[in-house]
Symmetry: C2
DNA sequence: CTACTTGCAAAAAATTTGCTGCTAT
DNA sequence: ATAGCAGCAAATTTTTTGCAAGTAG
């Protein structure tokens, strides 16, 4: 266990942070890699993974570990809820005010030290629905 | 696309369902495999994956796609909330009544056809906390 | 300077799949 | 009978890691 390394703001880290914050979508690591390669063709997928991990550990971005096979990342570090399409796996924000009181309820009902909570809605997005209303 | 195969209750499928329902924990596919091998040594990991998938598609069990690297499965098919330990990744039930009204709010605020929602609390479990209170 | 970081490639971890023979219905 | 299923092994997919060279502070 290393004792708090000093974080360096490398070009790669900065561009990863910038590009992610520009997006309102919630890309996977590989989607970020594809985007980043356009600006920085030699960047490696390993670097993307390592930095997304580090930035979310620092609280500068969020790792969203909701459904789907791949992890997704969110440039908005504030707590907010998400909605995911069951068909295409797209993840979007949903403007429901997170209920912090819920965490107090959880504290009373469990022996865990409750840190946070996250709610994900699951549904069918308009474009998937249009594609096959079945 | 295949048109609704008839589901067979094989020995393997049955024992997977039984053993999962016995547990109050939420094992990963591999954890299930380890448990099942004790009763059925020749069962394969592929079979475990295939059946957990099929059973959750049928709504007989739940796939819980929350944080952590592996998917977890829950023999309790009723909707309920979970709490996950940030350190050991254990997932347990939490006795908070799911708020179905939230889904109506979501319907009003988004263009998705909202099907369900899930809330996950994140914290530190008592045993991890005891192990290192830092 | 020097620890942290990168690109690259290889490895590991997690899950899915093709196939052949078996079995529930 | 026969469509679906199991076991096995190989393939994919997703993520992590070791290492030598580069770089921010």
């Amino acid at each position: 266990m290393k004792t708090h390394a000093v974080l360096r703001m490398t070009k790669q880290r900065q561009i990863i942070l910038e590009e992610l914050c520009k997006l309102k979508s919630h890309p996977t690591a590989d989607e970020m890699y594809q985007i980043l390669r356009r600006k920085m063709p030699r960047i490696s997928l390993g670097t993307v993974y390592r930095n997304l991990e580090i930035l979310s550990d620092c609280g500068m971005i969020q790792k969203i570990d909701v459904g789907g096979t791949q992890k997704r990342f969110d440039g908005n570090a504030d707590i907010h809820y998400h909605i995911r399409c069951l068909r295409c796996n797209k993840v979007e924000d949903i403007e429901i005010e997170p209920d912090k009181k819920l965490e107090n309820t959880a504290r009373q009902l469990s022996k865990y030290t409750v840190l946070r909570h996250h709610t994900e809605f699951i549904g069918i997005c308009p474009s998937c629905l249009a594609a096959s209303p079945a």
